[in-house]
Structures are given as structure tokens and as C-alpha cells.
């Protein structure tokens, strides 16, 4: 089930979301990383960062609220230790980059220029802009476009640049347009949404950072709305759908809204084998609907009622039953 993100062709559309796949070593214990369409790294910055103190994750209904403070090894250690490991895994590596200033983004991108195993660069536009009172770059079209341009200039022409946007903005479509105009080859939608939780026992904020990013199925409707709106405005731009993808049908929902790939985030914390399972379920969901290629399903929700997508031959007899009978992959269950 191949798909394309600009110049980058992926063998399948299921990727990890930035910051949710660790260094790759943690996931490699649970499944072969080649089963992923692409591995997206934790956001890499110029310097190593310890992040925020604990508690930095709290459980909310159908979601997780996290205030990590972008912990990471820094570009030197990433190039020395993490990237070589991922390169050996034979999986396309999409490096998420972040910075506190325009120069830091560009610096990280420049350092990645010579690294041969980088398949694409994802620009994390939710990083706090130190020059703008710590508000995120992706909040306004201007700063978002500046960052994307800086990274685009510092990145090899054949390596696609994806802009990852958070939904907490006035007008997401305008920000998305600005990013594409300044050189983004694709968009990753969406990053976490801002939220807070108060611990009723301690009567204090549940997170050290007070507010954090909400992820998980709780934000899926918001993410699907964002993908739908942006695909309607920019139908030719590849979109990676992110936000609460936990099953193959969730992934299909994003595809129908206009995404040509999906990234799995907090579902990996709940079920480390989620990514290959979601891919399997998505393939099944497409075959039940007699859709041969993923590309035929991308943005179908935008088509008028009654539109029939290109279909594969006669309906597979009892496709639904077969899908149900297929035994689950053995899991460590008591």
C-alpha cells in the first residue's frame, strides 16, 4: 500500500508520530521497524535538553496530557548514536526538528544536510519562540513561514520538508498556506492541543508545566476537521494525519478527510505494537470497501454523494467474514 509525501515514496502510510517512538530501539523490541512506512524521530534541537521535571504526563478521558519540555539528546548525540541505529533498520527516517529561534532550526537542518539516511525533515512549529515571549512559531502565518523557509533553504532539494502544525491557531488554513508558499512539501496535522488538569487531591495543577499538550483519541475529531479543511484548501499538498489514531478505521477516517499517510502517537504508549496492527486493519478496511489503492481513498469525503471511487474487480465474496476469522497476531496476554 504505497503512498507519497512529495518526492518521498513510502511502502505504507503508517508512521510513528514525533516524540512517541523513542529512539526506535524501544519499539524495535516489539516489532520489526521495516513494517513502518516511516519512523519519525523525537524533535531534535541544537543542544541536549532534559525537559521538564516530573510529573509530566497525566491521564485524561481518552487522552494524555503531556508537558515534556522537548527533551532530547541534541543534534550531536543524535547524529552519533540514534541516526546510525535507525539507518540500520532499513526504514525511512523523518527527522523532526525544533529550535528556540529561527537560527536554531536552520542550524539543525544544516547539520542534517550531509546525513545520508534522512528521508524527510519535519518542522515542529509548536516549539516556543524565545524571541516572541515563548509563544509557538506556528501560531501566526509569518513566523511559521520564516521557519519553514529557513529549514527549506538548509535542506537538500530532494529531501521533502513537512510542516507540523498545532490546531491552537486563529486560522489554520492561512498558516498552512503560508508554510506551503514558503517551501513546505507537505503538512503534518496536528500537533497536540493545549490543555490543563488540576489534581483534586493536591488541589494543584497535575503537571509541573501547568498546561500541557493533549493527545489521544480525545483530539481525533479536531484533527480530522483540520485535515479536512486544509485538504479542501490545498488539495495537492500531501498531508500526514495525526491525532488519536488507534485503529485502522481511525486511519481510514483521516485518509478519507484528505491525509495520504497517518502517524501513530499516544496509541504506542498503550499498545507498543499498534503501528503494524493499524496498517493491517487499514488494508482490511480498504479491501472490504473494494478500494485498490490508498491514493483512490485520499480525500474521498470531499467528493459529492454518489461518487464511486475506482474499484477492484468483483466484490470479494464474504470479505467481511474473512476479516473477522483472521486470527489476531499473538500477543502477550494472560
Amino acid at each position: 500500500m504505497r503512498t507519497r509525501l512529495g518526492a518521498l515514496e513510502l511502502t505504507n502510510p503508517v508512521m510513528t508520530a514525533a516524540g512517541c517512538g523513542g529512539t526506535g530501539r524501544e519499539l524495535a523490541r516489539f516489532f520489526d521497524l521495516t513494517k513502518l512506512g516511516a519512523f519519525v524521530t523525537t524533535s531534535v534541537m541544537t543542544q541536549p535538553r532534559a525537559g521538564r521535571p516530573t510529573p509530566r504526563v497525566t491521564e485524561t478521558p481518552s487522552g494524555l496530557l503531556t508537558a515534556m519540555g522537548l527533551p532530547g539528546p541534541g543534534i550531536d548525540s543524535f547524529l552519533e548514536r540514534d541516526l546510525p541505529f535507525l539507518a540500520e533498520q532499513d526504514v525511512p527516517v523523518i527527522v523532526s526538528v525544533a529550535g528556540n529561534s529561527l537560527e536554531e532550526y536552520a542550524e539543525v537542518a544544516r547539520r542534517l544536510y550531509d546525513a545520508p539516511s534522512v528521508a524527510a525533515v519535519e518542522v515542529n512549529l509548536a516549539a516556543p519562540n524565545v524571541e516572541d515571549r515563548g509563544r509557538m512559531f506556528g501560531r501566526l502565518p509569518g513566523p511559521a513561514a520564516d521557519v519553514v523557509r529557513a529549514v527549506r533553504v538548509a535542506t537538500r532539494r530532494d529531501v521533502p520538508v513537512l510542516a507540523k502544525l498545532a490546531p491552537d491557531v486563529g486560522d489554520l488554513v492561512t498558516v498552512a498556506l503560508a508554510c506551503v508558499d514558503s517551501g513546505a512539501d507537505g503538512l503534518s496535522l496536528i500537533n497536540t492541543m493545549a490543555g490543563s488538569a488540576i489534581d483534586a487531591d493536591t488541589m494543584r495543577p497535575a503537571l509541573t508545566g501547568v498546561s500541557g499538550g493533549l493527545s489521544g483519541p480525545a483530539i481525533r475529531p479536531v484533527a480530522v476537521r483540520c485535515v479536512y479543511e486544509v485538504h479542501a484548501a490545498l488539495p495537492g499538498t500531501p498531508i500526514v494525519g495525526i491525532g488519536g489514531v488507534a485503529t485502522g478505521l481511525d486511519a481510514l477516517e483521516f485518509v478519507l478527510a484528505g491525509a495520504c499517510a497517518v502517524a501513530v502517537g499516544s496509541a504506542l504508549f498503550h499498545d507498543p505494537t499498534a503501528a503494524p496492527r493499524i496498517l493491517r486493519e487499514l488494508e482490511e478496511a480498504l479491501s472490504v470497501r473494494r478500494i485498490a489503492a490508498l491514493a483512490d481513498a485520499v480525500g474521498l469525503a470531499h467528493k459529492p454523494t454518489g461518487y464511486v471511487p475506482p474499484q477492484i474487480g468483483p466484490a470479494p465474496a464474504g470479505a467481511g467474514e474473512r476479516a473477522r476469522e483472521r486470527p489476531e497476531e499473538p500477543k502477550e496476554k494472560p
Binding site: A50, R52, T54, V57, T66, G69, V130, P272, K333
Partner: protein, 271 residues
């Protein structure tokens, strides 16, 4: 709670833990709950036994586990984390446990016994009902001391109060501990004073802060001093839960020490 999980039982080594999903297949609770393993048995192809205390517990996830009945299915990942390091020679080992955390020490005691080590127990908690495994400790240990804060069982006081005496009486060469953070802190301090190596399982810290148990979510970080003297924030789940007691900066748990690698101040004020 006893779970039939042959693959986990087969690979388990003392000190490792398992991560359980709570709330069933369509749960709204995404975080996993991490529990130390009490023991594994070959029954039914391999079972895993866990001990947890839900009395007065506010976590509905653990409450859900308490409500499971025989033959219910539970989603478990394991064994996870690094086990206790074992001594090469038969030495005298002191195992200090607090509350349900003491459960993790019994599988260790069995393994140490097989290596012909002498095994001494010290169990501590607030009051008699909270002390786990006092009887078993007496049965399998060369010696077993119990200390409670209210004096309802054994001596009165905390583990830290009686630890020097127990170390001297048992002639311990190495100290293992699992339980509340305060207990681990006291054990590490006393062991260092006596020049003994200490291995502590930060299971309780992991339960409180962790969300996945697999190292992916990076929620359960704590400051550890490395061989090079540099403090790093490591994950309690995948770099632990067993850590060298003298390497943990107990006073700085729940903070990012200013001299830690990547600490905000080291960056020149960013964030």
C-alpha cells in the same frame, strides 16, 4: 493477582515489572499501570503473580484491576525493565522492602538462595496490616526483621532507624531494596555510610509518574549521576527500575537539577 502468561513467566528475572492496560478493550484510559512481579510459577504453562494495594487508592484504573474475576482477560506487556544485578559469589544479602513493594524481593530471594547467598529481610511500613510478606520472609530468610511506625508489628520506627543495627547483625555485603521513595533514600544513605553497594527498585516512582512502561513516553525520568560524574535524566522504566542507590539524586526527584545534562539553566536561560 495471578495471571497466566507463559511468555512473560519464562523470560522474567527478579526486579523486572509488567505494564497492564486497564478498563478493557475500548477503554478511555490510555496509560498503562506498572507493577513489580511477586513471583512466576510454572503452573498452567507459566503464571505471573502481582501484588498491589488499592486501599484508599484514588486510581480508578487499579480499582478496575481489583474488580477482575477468574478467567477475565487482561492486556499485559512484560517483562520490562532491568533486573536486579546478582552477586557472583555467595555473599550475605539484605533485602529491604516497604509496603506492597516488598513483593518484588521474594523472587530475588529465591534466586539468591539458589546461588547459595545468605538472605536477610527487613520489612517496614506504617502499621501491621500494610506489611507484606512478614511470614514468608521468616520462612525463607536466614533472618527477618519487621519495623512499623506505630509499633503494631516488630520494632517501632522506620527502616532507616533500624537499618544500621540490621546491617551489623546480618553482616550484609550488599543491600537490595524496593518500596516507597523515602525508604529507598534512607537505605541508599545508610548503605553508603557502611560502604555497601545498594540496588534499589524505583517501582513506586514509576507507578506514580509512568504512562507506558516501555520507555516511549519519557514520563518517568529521574536524575542519575553517571560514571563520568555527569547527571542525566534517565527513565525509571527502561533504564531502571533497578538502579544503584548511590547514583540516584534522591533530593532532586521531581526536579531537573541545574547541573543535569540539558538542564534549562545550562542552556543560558531558554525555557
Amino acid at each position: 493477582m495471578t495471571l497466566v502468561a507463559p511468555a512473560v513467566a519464562e523470560r522474567f528475572r527478579p526486579g523486572q515489572f509488567v505494564a497492564l492496560a486497564v478498563g478493557g478493550e475500548h477503554t478511555a484510559r490510555l496509560a498503562r499501570r506498572c507493577f513489580a512481579v511477586y513471583e512466576v510459577k510454572p503452573d498452567y504453562g507459566g503464571t505471573v503473580e502481582l501484588v498491589f494495594d488499592h486501599r484508599g487508592g484514588a486510581d480508578p484504573g487499579t480499582g478496575w484491576l481489583v474488580g477482575r474475576r477468574a478467567r477475565d482477560m487482561v492486556d499485559m506487556v512484560g517483562p520490562l525493565g532491568r533486573p536486579f544485578r546478582l552477586p557472583r559469589d555467595p555473599v550475605s544479602c539484605l533485602l529491604v522492602g516497604g509496603g506492597p513493594g516488598a513483593a518484588a524481593l521474594f523472587a530475588l530471594a529465591d534466586t539468591l538462595r539458589r546461588r547459595e547467598c545468605r538472605v536477610h529481610f527487613l520489612l517496614a511500613d506504617r502499621s501491621a496490616p500494610a506489611v507484606f510478606g512478614a511470614r514468608s520472609a521468616q520462612r525463607i530468610g536466614d533472618s527477618a526483621a519487621v519495623v512499623t511506625e506505630d509499633g503494631s508489628l516488630g520494632d517501632t520506627g522506620t527502616a532507616g532507624d533500624v537499618l544500621p543495627r540490621v546491617i551489623e547483625e546480618s553482616g550484609a555485603d550488599v543491600v537490595y531494596a524496593c518500596g516507597p521513595t523515602e525508604l529507598l533514600r534512607a537505605v541508599s544513605a545508610v548503605a553508603s555510610r557502611y560502604g555497601l553497594p545498594s540496588q534499589v527498585s524505583v517501582e513506586e516512582f514509576l507507578q506514580r509518574t509512568g504512562a507506558c512502561g516501555t520507555g516511549l513516553c519519557m514520563a518517568c525520568v529521574l536524575p542519575i549521576v553517571g560514571d563520568d560524574g555527569i547527571t542525566r535524566m534517565v527513565r525509571a522504566c527502561s533504564d531502571g527500575p533497578v538502579l544503584r542507590g548511590d547514583r540516584v539524586r534522591w533530593g532532586d526527584l521531581g526536579t531537573i537539577p541545574f547541573d543535569a545534562l540539558g538542564a534549562p539553566r545550562a542552556l543560558g536561560g531558554a525555557l
